[in-house]
Structures are given as structure tokens and as C-alpha cells.
Amino acid sequence: MEKIFLRFVKFISPVLQKTGVDTTQLYEIIKVKLMMDERRPKAMFAARKNMQNNTKVQSPWLITFFTVLMGLFIGLVLFLNQMPFVGQTLYFLIFMTLMSITLISDFTTVLIDTRDQFIILPRPVNDRTVAVSRILHISFYVLRLALLQGIAGLVIVGFTDGIAAVPLLFIQILLATFMSIFFVNIIYLLLMRSVSPQRFKDIISYFQIGFSVIIFGTYYLLPRLINISVLENISLITHWWSWLLPPVWIAGLNELIIHGARAGFITIPLAVLGVLTPIVGLWLVAKVLAPGFNRRLAIIATSDGNSTSAPKITKVEKTSFFDKIANIVAPDPVENAGFKITMKLAARSRDFKLKVYPAFAYVPMYFLYFVLKGNGSLTDKLDKLQHGHSYIFLPYLCTFILTNILMNVSMSDKYKSAWVYYALPVDQPGKILSGMYKAIIVGFFLPYCLIISIPVILVWGPQTINDIILAVLIGIIYGILMALFTVKGLPFSKPVIAKQGGGRFISTMMIMIFIAAVGFGHYLISRWELVIWILIVPFLILNLVMFHYYKKQTWENIEMADM
């Protein structure tokens, strides 16, 4: 595919040459960029390349396969073609969202490749060549993605709407892609105008977090809340707000050409919008947005580090607050160090946030998913929910967060900085680990449980307080067990690799089954309030004992990454 594209670049060279582009340089830049893309693991698919081991480079075929598969899932909504617009609108809504997010997440590394400033800019390459190479590179990437993602849809639409709809869908996909590019460009520009490069990357990662939450939420909750047969018969176009949605415009094309008989008058202007907006958008991107974009990037790259930012005073106070907590819960100096380093790295490392923060939103979703399961109307289910004891599962579900954090806390892209642990005379690494664990509890688990318990207490009343305390204590014990059996590295000390299976999986399952049993026992006895209050005491003691032993871990229990 790369070769075809390079041939295409050669083919259009004469035209580009007239506009002042050095075509030999252009060809070389694009060739190198494509080569690097191929060798770079994609961010969208979480399995990262093992830093130590270059033979295990992710196969580009696997990524292609997953993209096509994803396209197949989206394509399934095209079967909803009883009512006008519905299936196609949904299809393009998901298609464009996926496309935009992939562009935002995968392309930050390419667009903000500051190395270009030092490698290409000092060479005699004119601005236009650089700009055109960037545009062509992006187009190739995007079109490839669009085709892979759309191929299943092209087949499906042939079955549902007849063979004539296939070339039409192809055009629609192109239009949807252009529109996504336009949106992404605007988002980028708005962000670049208003924030620093560092902050910019942070915001992009929040986009990614938001995206995974949305995907998760729609997957689990939407079918519970909305009946699919209702969706099938919805008459979308009678709601005026639907006229404002770009996917509707693009779906309008299909409606107008394939189902012309049932198309209303409003379909015509919508379809026209569907053709015009992407084209105008693309023109705006090329003529107005892109030049400013490149200039902006150049400024960011060259002035980096020279910008004098005002010191943030509020931040200092906040850390001193956490420092105080650190001194109370982790008085031992080594433990204190482990506590603070975990706290600060976890709060500031983008990679960690990206993996852990979505879990915060998953917990209430899981809860709703489980309690809304089964038949009956939504109001019935909610009513039943309020009078039952199922709220007990909510604090237990919070252990999901613990699992998630523990799975990621020992990994980092910059794992080599962890040499300090090994170079300094630390006799009991267990102290660092217990500091780390306390930081996870104090910094993430407890605040989260606190927030979760507010609605629980509001809905089910104050008699739930003892249940929450007990569940949290049990959750902490679960966490220690997990940490003991699965976290073998010091905080942020190991390279990010694909999760390893094997023996650890068994122990994880055992711990989970155990905790599920305890939780179920809790559910059974939850009607006796006093028993719960009394049970809190032994579990508190058990906690302290376990912390004591957790601290005793020696260097033999710790896996080190190769430095």
C-alpha cells in the first residue's frame, strides 16, 4: 500500500513542482515518514512494543485486522434500514467519532514530532515542501484508515441497499473522513492557541480517557436503557435538532439517492450540506488553518524550555497538604519516600492517568449494568434497587480500581529512572512497596470510595455507613493480597509491556473468588446492623497485621528490569 502511495506521489509530482515544491525532497520525506510509521507501534492498540526486545515488534497486519474487524462491528448498524436515516446516521456517527479519536491520539506523535525541527528544518528544504509532505502524509494515513474501517460497511450496504449504494457509501466515507479531519484540525488549533505544549498533550490524553469511557458506557449501558426495536422505528428526521448533526447530512446522501421515493423535502438541503461541508472544511484546512498550524508548531518546538512560566503558588500548598498526610500514614523515611514518589508520579504521569482514570468511570457503569440486568421496566428496576441491599456491591466494585492501579503502578515509559532504588542502600524494599500501597489507598481508593458513598448514603440512608466501612476495609485487604501476589516491581520501575499470563492469572482469580465470597457473605448478614459494626474491628486489626507483613518483603521478592 505504501508503494502504491509513493507511486502516486511521483505521479502528481509535475503538478506539485509548479507550485514550488521540491519533489525529490518531498518523495524522500514521505518515504522516510511512512517507513517510520510502519516501524512504530500504534498507540490505539494498547499492547506496546517490548523495549528490551526488538524482535517482538507488533505486526502491522494485526493492526490492519483489528481495524477491519472494528469496521465490521460498526457496519452491523447498517442493517437498521427500515426507517430513513437511522442506520446510516448511527454508522457515520460512530465512524466519525472513531476516526477523529484515532487521529487525535495516534497523530499527536507525528504532528508534534519536534525532531523534524532539528532534522529537516536545518536542511535546505523550503516551507512549502515541508507543508505539502505533512498534508500528503496525513492524507495517506487517514485514507488508509478510512478504507480499512469502511470495507465491511461497503459489503454490508451492498446487501441492504443494493449494489448502487456501494460506490455511494465509498463517497460518503470519504466525505465523513474529510469532515473528521476538519474537526480534528479545529480542536488542535483551539487547543494550541490557548495552552502550552505540555498541557496540550495532557488535554489530548483526557480526550482519550473520555473516549474509552464513552465506548464502554455505550457498550454496557445503552442496550439496558434503550430498547433496540425502539431505535429501529425512531423517526429521526422529524426532530429538528437532528438536522444539526453532521452524520445526518452524510446519511442524507444515501436517503436521497437510494431511497428517493421516501425522502422528504428536508433531505435535499441536508444532503447538500453533507457534500459541501467536507469540501469547504478541507479547503479551510489547507488554505487557512494549516499554515498557521505549522508556524505554531515551529514556535512550540523552538521556544520550548525558554518560556518563562510563573511559579504556581497554589500547587505548593496542595503538595504540602499531601506531605502532611504522608508524614502521618508513612512515618518511616523509606516508606515515606515510597509514598510520595508514587503519589507524585501517579498524579503527573500521562501514561498512568491514561490507563487508570477510565476505571473511575467504569465502576458506576458496572454497577448500573449489573443491577439493571433482567426484565421489567426501568422504573420497576430502579424501585427495586432502592429497597434492596444491592448497594453493598458498589464499594466492592471499587476494588476494580485497586486492581487497575496495582496492575499499572510498577510500569512506566521512563522506567530507567528507577535506578535510584537499586543504587541507594535500601535494606527493605517492602517499605517502599508499603509506602506505594498506602499512597494508592490514600490518594485514589479512599477518596473515590468517599465520593461513591455520598450517593449511596443519600439514596439508601445512613444505615449504610457501617457496610461501606467494612467493605472498604475488605477492599484494602484484597488490595494487599493482590499487591503481594501480582505486583513484583517497585513503583514505576518496569518497562511497559503486554500483560503476562500464566501463574499470576491463577492467583489473581483465586483472590477475586475469595473476595467475591466475602462480599456475598457481607450481603447475607447485612440486615443485622450491629454485627457489621462489630465485624469492623477484627477486619481493622487484620489490615494492620497485613500491612506489617507486607512491609517485610525483601529484594528476593522483587523483580528488577534490566537497566
Binding site: 516501524r39 525532531r115 532539528f118 532534522i119 528544504v125 523552538t302 518563562t308
Partner: protein, 257 residues
Amino acid sequence: MSETPLIEIRNLRKFYGEKEVLKGINLDIYPGQVIGYIGPNGAGKSTTVKILTGLIPDFGGEVIVNGINMAQNPLEIKKLIGYVPENAEIYDVLTPMEYLDFIGKLYSMEETALHDRAAKLLTAFGLGTNKNDRMDTFSKGMKQKVLLIAGIINNPKIIILDEPLSGLDANAVIMIKELIMRLSQEGKTIFYCSHMMDVVEKVSDRILLINKGEIIADGTFESLKQNHSDTLEQIFSKLTGREDQSNETDAIINAFE
């Protein structure tokens, strides 16, 4: 020395927001000179280099290289310059040969000559056996060597080296020092930025000391020595206002008490 300067810098100014980083720099650099450009961190060294290599297009004043004005025709100037950046940025998923092929072609070099030269240079720098390995496995010194080669692959008239010895072992350092002298004998003009005073002292014909955006000393090592002290290190600390070094070390020692 020829009488017409190769690089003329007139009243060069640069602001980052409110902060004036370069406060009117004037310089004439003649062909074949090895310029040692030194100064404390944040003095404006990197900014000067970035302007000279065309990385920062907006600046006040005039930069003329080989009779070409930087503001009007940066591309022609870039063709004359080879640049080894300080921050060691490199596309490390490529192999050295692929990387040099890319860089050479950006200079519009012809492929067979380019490959021949790249292979010869890689072998000369001791990377002959690694020329087709990806650079993400390379050590810092090996990457630095590739960057150095990329800086001279087009046989430039002017070579700008920003901290070129970082990560190199002692033998490589000796080799580079010798190389700088040989290149200058070949008529190349070399602009050498570094914090390593002993190296600057040895390789430079002329030393420029910049502090707070101004050139505060300009001359051969010998001439600087007569006015001030006997090593470049001492000259440096005197001129940049850090004579009270012993007080600082006192304070450090006292901190343990």
C-alpha cells in the same frame, strides 16, 4: 585569512516574550576559522546557533552568510551549513544508512555518491558493522557519531557543532578534536559551542564568550590569557562574574555541619 567575512552578524536581537535573549550581537567570521563559542547556561548560545541555522526565522538585525541574507534566502544558506544539534534528536527507528540517505537527499545529493560517502564515513567512525542496524539499539555515543556524519555528509562550508562530544568516549573525543583541525585546514569554517573549556581552548582559533545576550570577550586564547588568567576556565568564571567560587564551595561544605 581572507578579508571578506564569511558570516556577518549585525546587531542581532531576539526576544522571547518580554525577555531579551540577544542584545545586539555583532560578529564577523572569516573562512577557515574555528570559533569556540562559550557562555553560561541561558546566555543565548543556543539561540544564536538556532538563528544561524535558520531554525528561528524571526529575529532583529541582520545575518549574512557568504553574501546571502538570512532573512531573504535561508535555503541557500542552509545548503552551506552542516549542523550537529545539541539535543541529539534523530529518527531512531531508521538505520544509519537509511538516515544518511534521507539527509543527503534533502541536500539533493546524487544517490550512488551519497551511499558511497555515507558508507565510507560510517566505517571511518567505527560504525561500519552497524550501518544496517536500527538506531534504537544504539548507545548515546553511537547516535552522536551518526549525527556528526549527518552534519558533514554534504561537505558543507560551515560546520556548526553544538556540544558534539556528549556521550563520546575518550578515543572518539581525540578523533573529533583532530578532525576539527583537519577540517579547518581544508578551509571549513567551524562554529563550536561547548561547555568543555579544555577542548575549546585546544581547537579554537578564536574564542567568543557570551553572557546575558552580549559578547563580552572575543579573541584568540593567547590574547584572552594576557588580559585575565591562564586557563580558559578561569577566564570564563572571571568574566561571567563568578570569581567567588571558593565561597560557594565553602557554603556546600558548611551545609553538612
